[in-house]
Amino acid sequence: MKKYTFKGGVHPSHCKEQTARLPIEDFPAPAVAVIPLSQHMGAPAKPVVAKGDRVLVGQLIGEPGGNVSAAVHSSISGTVRSIGPFAHPSGRLINAVEIENDGENEAMLYEPIGSRWDEAAPGELVQEIAAAGIVGMGGAAFPTHIKLSPPSHKPIDTLIINGAECEPYLTDDHRIMLEMTESILVGALIMKKILSAKNVFFGIEDNKPDAIAAVQNKLSSSRFDSIILSILKSKYPQGGEKSIITAITRRKVPSGKLPMNAGCVVHNVSTALAIYEAVMEARPLYKRVVTVMGTKVNSPKNLMARIGTPVRALLEACNVNIAGAKKIILGGPMMGTALSDLDAPIIKSTSAILVLDQVTEAVRKYPCVNCGMCVRVCPIRLIPSRLAKFVEKDNFEDAVAWNIMDCIECGSCTYICPAKINLVQYFKLGKMKINAARAAKRQAG
């Protein structure tokens, strides 16, 4: 079978063997859940509960706080202990609802759309997805209902289900593709209906042959004959939106635009599963699979955990030798964020907790020798070494002219750099300063 790929990219060791074969285990609900009101891109949710209220599993506790925002639900049943700033995976203190578990595990009951979804209006389905608080679970956490409501002048003809899982260590998507294959495919059909997309591609990297076989097996049923399996070469960042669109469709997302400008929309397999659960079971997004893995983890696991469970509790469950740990990362090692506070909770976009005993150089170890490896691996075909020099000299005009804003921050250049220069850090800093300057200019003008 033809294998699809994109230009550029790197080949870090997969490091997935340990957890890829471990079935998902249910992790018990925590005694106290801290559920941040901001787990998504956009405005934070506005709390709709107050201290002392009793809440049920799946009950709305925060409503969308703006046009780009998402609803937040309780993951346990119990009493709201407080609402205020708590440690957040981002490293900042962010408003959250702290709920004390009453051990009842009493769930809110909603009426699901259920099997009549294929007769439901797209608008009703989108509303259900918005009500379930679903966001992109691959990492970016963009509200899904917005991605599923493209403006009418930007028709979407291609839906891509992203099962690439190209980040090393992560196996949460891999496991759900094996264990909940059919639900993901139904989720894909629901999205196909909403978008009235012609083509649906299911992309999986070739390092997951069992997941490919599981999906292939289900696709033989006529129910799913509109979905095409696309096997992708294992290469990072194969699961990046632009990479996977170009790999499968050969289309390119125009610079500075969204995938819908190429007629495409990409959704992660976890998101597809969440959509299935929202539509078929009326279950809001309040739990997800988290891979707990790393060099200091004695019993690595794939855990189905409630949103708001402290990282510390999950690490304890996996017998982590915390004393030897140097770094704890939420997400993958290529794009995840380093965690400072183990009391921070897992959120909707937390795909993994990695415990590493190695650190990367804080400052460059060698000078740039112009070797061009960063140029070779950049999937956007930027010249990272040159951009870094512009940012270093606060030359933002040239940085913009050399397309710093197109950087997808995948980290390939930094991974490969033989001089060990933190290139991506320069780009994040540069973009931040450029955006701040633009905002200031807008305000002044």
Binding site: A323, A338, N370, D406, P418
Partner: protein
């Protein structure tokens, strides 16, 4: 489950990515040194232990110069990146085996101090330090830099001396009494010989190339294996090719620079091959001779590919290779020197920033 409460350790915070590839700048330098090993061995085989001593002296003086420069300039010590070792080896490979040791050392010190350290060290130099050292030596000591002893196996330039004596007599390379090959062999240790490139250039100058073409054809084997006079690193095309292929296969150097460099030299000498024909076996003798002779392989695989002084863009590297080839051709064919590789590369080094600016790749999704 272990019920003990986990103490929060001192955790490192940093930006993603949190993993890095093993490859590093010192590893890159070591890989190039490894790739040069066949050429170093070949120079020992063909020119004896004196050649190896010269290499050792150049390495020690290059590393010593960088060490002292860092101390004097109050900079972090950088000799651990192995780039000075590489520069030392390359300077040595760029001088004749008869070069006095102190001149080799001086060339290495010039390469490190003037071409590299005063510009800020590794990554900041705008011309290849080793070539700067070579060019400095050619300008300062033209005679020792252009007198080449024969190899240990007695070959002067891979050419049958008797057949070519008339041409070479006229070119005043050989003493007038060297009328037969026996007397040439006898004089081999004493005289300095014409390199293959000098010989072919002189036959072109004297219009006697066509008459001697078969001699040049016979010389190709010696050129390929290295039984010819010349600089230390020019001797064996095979040894350089082995190292070059290793570097290209491991993607430490980009194949574009050597490929387009060598192809350009071949094509231009083929177009002016001196036989008046283009699709005969004879027509490729001159271009093949020029590709194998002199420092082309050393330059194309190990000097033009120096990342610091070559373009970073893929298309820029093609232009750079073609430009090096064009200049090498012009100097070898029309210039005053028989060899043009080092001048060609140094000249192209100077236009690298311009090439990079003009060959910016179209980004993904460019409109």
């Amino acid at each position: 489950m272990d019920e003990q409460k986990l103490e929060t350790p001192h955790l490192h915070l940093s930006n993603a990515p949190h993993i890095r590839a093993q490859f590093s700048v010192p590893l890159m330098m070591k890989a190039v040194l490894l790739a040069l090993l066949p050429a170093v061995i070949a120079s020992g085989v063909f020119f004896g232990t004196g050649a190896l001593l010269l290499i050792a002296v150049c390495v020690v003086s290059a590393v010593g110069a960088e060490y002292l420069a860092n101390i004097i300039m109050r900079r972090r010590q950088t000799i651990g990146d192995y780039s000075a070792v590489l520069t030392g080896v390359l300077v040595a490979l760029n001088v004749p085996p008869s070069m006095p040791l102190w001149m080799g050392a001086l060339g290495s010190v010039f390469a490190i101090i003037v071409a590299k350290m005063v510009f800020g060290g590794l990554g900041c130099n705008f011309i290849n330090p080793a070539l700067a050292g070579r060019v400095f030596l050619i300008a300062s000591y033209p005679a020792p830099m252009t007198s080449f002893p024969a190899t240990k196996f007695g070959s002067i330039n891979g050419l049958d001396a008797q057949s070519l004596t008339s041409s070479l007599h006229d070119w005043s390379i050989l003493p007038p009494d060297a009328a037969n090959s026996a007397s040439i062999s006898a004089a081999v240790d004493a005289i300095t010989s014409a390199t293959p490139l000098e010989a072919i250039k002189s036959t072109f100058v004297l219009d006697s190339y066509a008459a001697n073409i078969l001699e040049f054809q016979k010389a190709l084997t010696d050129l390929f294996f290295g039984n010819v006079g010349g600089c230390l690193g020019e001797t064996s095309a095979l040894a350089l090719l082995v190292g070059g292929i290793f570097l290209m296969a491991t993607r430490i150097i980009d194949f574009r620079v050597p490929l387009f460099y060598i192809l350009t030299v071949f094509a231009l000498f083929w177009a002016t091959n001196g036989t008046g024909t283009y699709f005969t076996a004879e027509s490729i003798i001159t271009p093949t001779f020029h590709v194998l002779a002199g420092g082309l392989f050393l330059g194309a695989f190990f000097m033009a590919t120096d990342p610091v002084t070559s373009p970073i863009t893929p298309n820029g590297r093609i232009i750079f290779g073609v430009g090096c080839g064009l200049l090498t051709f012009v100097i070898r064919k029309y210039g005053g020197y028989p060899e043009g590789v080092s001048f060609a590369i140094v000249l192209m080094n100077l236009v690298v920033p311009l090439i990079d600016r003009c060959t910016r790749p179209a980004i993904y999704g460019a409109r």
